[in-house]
Amino acid sequence: MAKKSSKDRLSNEVNAGSMADIAFLLLIFFLVTTTIAEDKGILVKLPPWSEEEVDPTKLKTRNVFSVLVNADNQLLVRDEPATIDELRERAKEFIMNPSRRDDLAEKPTKAIISLKNDRGTEYKTYLKVYNELLGAYNELWNEEVAANYSQYGDKFHDEIPFAVRKEIRGKIPMVLSEAEPTTYGEE
């Protein structure tokens, strides 16, 4: 009789009390291994490879905004020394040319930004310069949305429909050409 009762106890359901412990263990494992990777960066599209060099002499000087960065991370913008902080404003002024000066771009569609660095330039500086130039275009695109596409309110240019975005980029295309770097500061 006593035997039977012990058999009865065996057939009881599994104790779920330890379930929480097991789950905790797994949870802690995943907590430790998790790296919620925030992968962000500056997206660029490189030009396809071609053997022949582009001849820059065909372009009018007024349409080219040249930025040179040397091995000491110093900037030369349109043949004058400059700092990174003023780059964004100057690029914007160059592209839009609001006061119709005859030494800045004829119109936004003709504006070309030419970026050239040295092999000894720090990557940090290069990226900062690139960031500023990209920032200039981003600001212009945003201003364009605010000025001519009021139906989108104060949205940024990358939050509106693709077709409109394309239209805006047709008006202010981003042309950033990167020349083969110089080799003065090779490490």
Binding site: T34, L46, R119, Y123
Partner: protein
């Protein structure tokens, strides 16, 4: 007064913990889903610079990573201190890039191959020489979508 005492006497028992496993399981599933197992052990030191005009990388499976930086201290005896390229989990040279890209490409369905992005995780202190060589190699391999990995800039205000 007696009313209060009565209530205290009947104080409810401890909170039931029966739903605890469910809560824990919910958390567990959340972390299981968001976890990305690090598939490459970093052998080079990479501190990406900060920038403000950032784009988020969309599909993880469509991204391949190229690390460039100084070898970590324990590898410096073998590989020196000049910045090097790391592909997958080993040191590599620029010439290894095409094969690396191809290996990543064949794992993906054909219709998605056009959207493959190369994420360049480059240390801020590295000079442009090696970066330029890699960019040239990427262009030659027809891998034109490139993402310069960067941190969000903390605005000084």
């Amino acid at each position: 007064m007696s009313k209060f005492q009565k209530k205290r006497g009947k104080a409810s028992p401890a909170i039931s913990t029966a739903s605890l496993p469910d809560i824990i399981f919910m958390l567990l599933f959340f972390f299981m889903v968001v976890t990305v197992m690090r598939n490459a052990e970093l052998k080079v030191n990479v501190v990406t610079p900060s920038a403000s005009e950032l784009t988020k990388l969309e599909e993880k499976s469509l991204v391949n990573y190229l690390y460039i930086g100084k070898p970590m201290p324990k590898w410096q005896n073998t590989y020196g201190t000049t910045p090097r390229l790391q592909l997958g989990d080993k040191f590599a040279t620029v010439a290894d890039i095409p094969l690396f890209l191809e290996k990543h490409k064949v794992k993906l369905p054909e219709n998605k191959r056009g959207r493959i992005t190369s994420s360049l995780r480059v240390d801020g202190e590295v000079t442009m020489g090696i970066v330029q060589d890699i960019k040239t190699q990427l262009r030659k391999s027809d891998q034109l979508r490139v993402n310069y990995s960067a941190k969000k800039e903390v605005e000084a205000q």
